[in-house]
Symmetry: D2
Subunit: 388 residues, 4 copies
Amino acid sequence: MTIKVGIFGSGLVSMHYITGLYRLREGTLKPYGVPFADFKLPYNFTDEEVVTVYDVDEDKVGHELREVIKRNINVDVPIPDSIPQLKIKKGILGGSSAGLDKIFKPIGLDQEIGLEDAIEEITRDLKRSSVDVVLNLISTENVEDVKSVEDLKSRIKEGRLSASQAYAFATYLAAIDSKKPIAFVNFIPSPLANSDVFVELYKEASSVILGDDGATGATPLTADLLEHLKERNRYVRYIVQFNIGGNTDFLALSIPERNLMKEKTKSSIVKDILGYDAPHYIKPTGYIKEIGDRKFVSMDIEWITFNGLIDELIVNMRINDSPALAGLAVDAVRISKALLDKGERGTVYEFNAFFMKNPGPKHMPNISRIRAYYNLLEYLKKREILMN
Amino acid sequence: MTIKVGIFGSGLVSMHYITGLYRLREGTLKPYGVPFADFKLPYNFTDEEVVTVYDVDEDKVGHELREVIKRNINVDVPIPDSIPQLKIKKGILGGSSAGLDKIFKPIGLDQEIGLEDAIEEITRDLKRSSVDVVLNLISTENVEDVKSVEDLKSRIKEGRLSASQAYAFATYLAAIDSKKPIAFVNFIPSPLANSDVFVELYKEASSVILGDDGATGATPLTADLLEHLKERNRYVRYIVQFNIGGNTDFLALSIPERNLMKEKTKSSIVKDILGYDAPHYIKPTGYIKEIGDRKFVSMDIEWITFNGLIDELIVNMRINDSPALAGLAVDAVRISKALLDKGERGTVYEFNAFFMKNPGPKHMPNISRIRAYYNLLEYLKKREILMN
Amino acid sequence: MTIKVGIFGSGLVSMHYITGLYRLREGTLKPYGVPFADFKLPYNFTDEEVVTVYDVDEDKVGHELREVIKRNINVDVPIPDSIPQLKIKKGILGGSSAGLDKIFKPIGLDQEIGLEDAIEEITRDLKRSSVDVVLNLISTENVEDVKSVEDLKSRIKEGRLSASQAYAFATYLAAIDSKKPIAFVNFIPSPLANSDVFVELYKEASSVILGDDGATGATPLTADLLEHLKERNRYVRYIVQFNIGGNTDFLALSIPERNLMKEKTKSSIVKDILGYDAPHYIKPTGYIKEIGDRKFVSMDIEWITFNGLIDELIVNMRINDSPALAGLAVDAVRISKALLDKGERGTVYEFNAFFMKNPGPKHMPNISRIRAYYNLLEYLKKREILMN
Amino acid sequence: MTIKVGIFGSGLVSMHYITGLYRLREGTLKPYGVPFADFKLPYNFTDEEVVTVYDVDEDKVGHELREVIKRNINVDVPIPDSIPQLKIKKGILGGSSAGLDKIFKPIGLDQEIGLEDAIEEITRDLKRSSVDVVLNLISTENVEDVKSVEDLKSRIKEGRLSASQAYAFATYLAAIDSKKPIAFVNFIPSPLANSDVFVELYKEASSVILGDDGATGATPLTADLLEHLKERNRYVRYIVQFNIGGNTDFLALSIPERNLMKEKTKSSIVKDILGYDAPHYIKPTGYIKEIGDRKFVSMDIEWITFNGLIDELIVNMRINDSPALAGLAVDAVRISKALLDKGERGTVYEFNAFFMKNPGPKHMPNISRIRAYYNLLEYLKKREILMN
C-alpha cells in the first residue's frame, strides 16, 4: 500500500522530508517530530514514496535529487542511499517571482512555453506519476485569492496566477482527468484551503485541498501560551514575537511583500484565541545567513494577574525550522491519503486546525494547538482512521 | 446566597484573596486572574464572604485582619475598607512547626491545650461561623499520610498530626456535627485529597475535600509546554526549572524537609504527561528577600526534533506568586460550594486536575492544564453548574 | 556656582532629567544612575539649574513646564514643586519634520518667520538666559552633515538645515556674540561632534560640542559584552539585537528614514570593538504603545570557543529608556561645564567615548564602555577635574 | 624552545587542553578561545608539549592517554594522532576523596605507599620529566589552608593534606631539588596562590604558584556586567545566577562540601566590584547528565536606575565549560613560563586577576575582567613579555 508523493519545491523542508522519510524507511531514524508516530493509522510512514519533485532554481532543475540534497542541506545528517534516483523537474514561476532573483537564478516552465501550457505539462506529469498526495513547499509568495473559476481561467491566460495556484490547479486537473482523488497539502501561506473557489474545485474532483501554512515554529507555541493565559483569564497587555533565521525562507521574507503575507497568518491567532486584539508585534524580523536553519525566536508577553498586578513571560527558542515542518509533512501525507480513502472532499477543518497556521475553509477560527490536537484525534477516531 | 469562607493561614495568598475579593465586591477591580469570571455559575464571586481566619504567627494572632494585611502585603494595592472586622484567631501548629521559628514566632492553640482539645475548639468555631468552604493556605509542611482512621486518632492523641491534617479533621467534625456539608480546599502539598482516609471521612460527612497543592506559577505552564511537545512527538532530552523568590513560602522551602514535599508534586508532571521520565531538575531553588513575591523562574528544555536535530526552549518569567493562587481561590470557593449543592461527596478529580498540582484521589494522573480545563468545563456542564 | 542649562526638546528624557534633577536638589532622590555621583568634581549636580526649554509640539509650546511634565511622564515618580516656573518656548522644526506629524502636531518658529530669523531669535534667547550648557534632546531626525560653513549658510537660506544643526548653530552664535563659552551636548544621532565644520565653529567660539547620541540602553552593554568576548579571542559568529518600546522615540523610529540613522550608530560598535565585521542585526525593531518607556531588548550572540565548539549567550532586558539617558545628562552637564572652565575647545573624545554611541570627532573609534570609563577617569584627573 | 607541561588530573578540561593543543600544533585548529593568540609573546603555543599526566580514576590510570581521551571526550572533536604516547600515571588522593567514589573508582598512590612516599615519588617523576609548568586540573576538593610549613609537614605525616596541596608541595620539592624554576598553575578553588605558606615556599624555590580557580563561565561575565552597572552608579537590588551541567565537575559539586568551596570564590566578586554586598544567590545549582559539558546558566539582575525606577537584565547562556578553561590554559602555560624566565617568584597578582576567580595573593580584590585584562597587558609590556 504505497502512497505516491509529489513535491512542489525542493528547499530545506522538502530536503528534510525526503531525507528523514528514507531514513525512517531504512530504520535508521527514530520518528521524533512525527506527531502521530505512536498511533495506529491505516498507513505507516514507510508507505510513503517520493515520485516527482519540481523546482525553479537553475542550480537544481535537471539535477539528481540526492546530489542536490547533499549539496544543499546545511546540517550534519546522513543522506541515505535509498533516496530515489529522480531528476528535479522544472516547475512554474507564475506571478510569484518577485524578488526571487535575489536568492537564486529562477527559471520557469511558464517562461518558456507560457503558463497555460506549463500547467498542462505539470498535469500530464502528475498523472503519469500517479501521485496520491502532493506537498506544496515552495517559497512564500505574495498572492491574491481568485474570485471565481472564470477569474482563475482568465488569470491563467494572462499569466497572472501565483505558482501555488497554478500547481493547485494542475493537481485538480490531474484528479479530474484520471478520475483519481488526489490530496493537495499546502504548507505555505497562500490562500488555497482558504479559497472558496479552490475548495469547490477539489470537491468536484473528489479530492481534498488542505492548508494553509504549516503550523510549526513559534506560532503554534504562541497559540498554546495564549490559550494558557486565556484559561486563567489573565489580561494580555501586549505580545512581542521576534524571529530571525538564515534559511531561504527568511531571506525571502526580507522582501517586504512576502513578509506581509506571513505576518497576516501569524497575527490572526491573537484575536482568535484571546477574544480581543491584544497589542502585538509578531513577524519574521530579519535574516542572518550564519544563523542557518536553526532560527532564533524571542517573545515577551505581559499580562495583568489577580489584584491588578503585572506578570511577564519571556521565551527564547532555537528551532530547526525545516525539520519541524518536515516531521509534520510525514504525518500529513499518510493522514490525507486516509482522508481520501474515507471519501473526504473539499477541505477538512479538523485536519487544518492542527496542521496549519491559517486553517481553511475561509473564516474558520484559529484555535489553540492543544485543543486542535484533541479535536483531530476525536475526528480521526470517528472517521475510523485512528485505530487505537 | 452568601458563601461563608473560613481560611487557615493568613499569609500572602490569603491576604491577596481577601483584598482582591473585597475589591471585586466593591467593583473597583477587574476579575483578571479569576479563571471562570466570564462564565455563568450558580454563585457570583461577590457572594463569597470571609467569616473566620486562623494563623500561628504571634504578630498576627489576635490582631485585626485589615491591619495585618496593611502591615504585611508587600505591593502597592489598595486595601478596601469593606474587609470585615475580624480578629485573626490562634490556629494549630501540630507537627508542622519544624523550622517555622526561623521565619516568625510560632504559637499554637495545641501548645496550650493539647492537640485534641485544640481540634475540638476549631470545630466549635467552624460550626459557630457556619462555614460553607474552608481554604487551607498555611505554609508548606512536611507530612506523612495517615494509614487509617485509627492511625489518625492515635496520632491526635500523641500530638503527631500535621496542622493541615488537624484542620481537615476539625472541618470534617464540624460537617458531621452540624449535618451541613462543607468543602475543604487544600492549596498546599500535604496529601489530603490524595489521602484515602480523608476522602472516605468526607464522603461520610457528605462533604468534599479538594486538592492538593494549588496549580499556579511555573508548574501548570510546564505541564502545557510538555503537552505541546508530546503532541508533536518531540523527544525531551531534559528539563530544567529554577525558581527563586522572596516570600515566606520560599523562605520555608529553604528548609530542606519542606522543599522535598514541593519537589515531589512539581516533578510528577513530567512522567504523567510525557509518558517517560525525562531527566529533570525541577524545584524551588532559593530565597532572596528583595525579589519579593514576584518570583523569578528560569526553564531550559531541549528536545530531539525530526531528522535527529536538537531544538531548545528557554523560558524566563516574573510571576506574582500569591495573587495567582488567590485568583484561583476565588473560583475554587464558588465552584466547590456549587459541587456541594449538587451532592458531590469525597473528592472531585475533574476539579482537582485543573486547580491542583497533585490532583486527588491518590494515583490519578496529572494531565496538561489545557486538557484539564476543557474536561472541567465539560464536567461542570454535565453537572449543570456551568450555565453558558 | 550655578550652571545654567538650556534644553532643546521636552520629551521623556528631558522630563526625567528635570524631574530627577529637582528631586536631587530637594534631597529626596538618591543619585542612582548618575555615573560619577560618588566622585568629587568642581560642580555638584545641585548646581545645575534649568533656565530655558524649547519644543515643537503644539500641546507643549506655551504651556507651563511643570504641567507638561505632570501630564506626560508616564510612570509613577513624584514631580517636585521646585521645578522652575517656565513656559516651554517654540523651537525650530527645520528639515527634520518628516513623519513627526504622525506623532504630534508639529509647529515651528521657522514656519512662521523663516529659518534664518528663527535661529536669530533662539540665539537672542540663549544669550538672555546666559546658558552655560545646552542639551540636545529632540527626536531622532534624518540629517546630512554640512560640507562647509558656506554650505551651512546656504542651507540656512534655503531652510534645509535639520533642527539639531540649527540649534547647534544658534548656540555657536550666542557664544560668539556674548563672548561666553557654551557647551552643546548632543544626545541624539545627528552628526555634530562628528561634523568637522561644527567642531571648527565651536573652537572658534571657545566652546565645546559633545556627542553624538547618548550611550544608554542596549548598545553600551553590547559594547562591553563584545569586549569581553574579544579579550578571550572568542570568534563571534553573529549578533542579534532586537529593541521594542512604546515611547515617542520608538514611534519616530518606525518611520524608516529615522530608523536608518539609529541603525548606523548602533552597528558601528561591532567592527570597532571586535576588529572584524561580525554578521549582525542590530536595530530598533518595533513600537507597541503599551510597553511604554521600559523597553524590551533581546539579544542572541553565538561564538566559537576553544576546540571549535559553539557557545551561545542570550540577553533579555527591560530598561527604562529615558531615565537612563537623563541620569547621564546630569553628569554630562557638570562635566562639560568643568571642561569649558579648563579651556577645552572643539570636542573632547575622552568625554564622548564614554557618554556617546558615536563619539566625535569624525573617524574616531568606538571602544568598549569599560575602557572608555577608565580613560575618562584618567583624563579628568589629568585635567584636574576629578579630585579624588 | 619547548615548554614541558605536566598535568594533574585528566578530566574534560585536561582532555580539551591536550586535544586542542595538538590540533593547534598540527595547524588544523584556529586558536579561538586562546586570549592572547594574536599577540607576540616569547613563546608560541606550539612550543607547549605534554610530558606527564596523573589521575586517580581506576579506568584511566595505566591507560594510554590518547585512548582515554577518545573514550571520554563527549563531543565531536577530532582527536589528533600527534598526541604523545603517554600512559596516565597514578596520582594522589590525599584528603580529597570525600564523595569521589560516587563518580568513579578512586585509587591513589598514597593509599598504597602512604602520603609522604607518594609525594616523593611524584617529585621524582616531575624532575625526570623536566617539567617547566604544571597545571592543576583535578576535581574541586574541600580543603583548608595550611597554617605554616610545620603544619604542612605534620599534615603530610598524618595524611591530612588535600591532593592539590600534595601536588603543589611535590612540585616545590622538584624545583628545589633540581634547582630549576617551575610554574604551578592552579585552576581549581583550593587556596594555593591564596596561601601565604605556599607563596613563600615558591619564592624560596625561585618558582611561581599562580591561582586560584580558573576564571571561565558565568563568573567573569558577571564581573564585567557588575562593573558595567557600577560605572553608571546603578544600584543592584539583587543578583541570581543559576548553573547546571552534566560534566563530572557538576556531579562533584552536587556533593555539598565541594559546592561550598565553589560558592565562596563565585560570590566574592559581588562586594569586590560593587563596593557593597548586593543580595545574591550565585552557585552551581544542579546536575543533569544529558546537559553534558555545555552547561546552562541563567542570571537575573535588578537595579535601580535614575529617578528611582527599576530595570531588569536576564542572561541565559550555553557554555562549553571545559574548552573555555582549556583555552585559557594554553596561554597560561606560555605566559607563566615567560614569567619564570623574567625572574618572577612567589605569585603574580596581575596574572591571577585576569586568569583566576579568586586571584592570589590572599586578600587581594577581584576586579572586573576587562580591567584585569588591560592591567595584565600593561604588566606584560612592562616586563617585556608582550612584544606588540
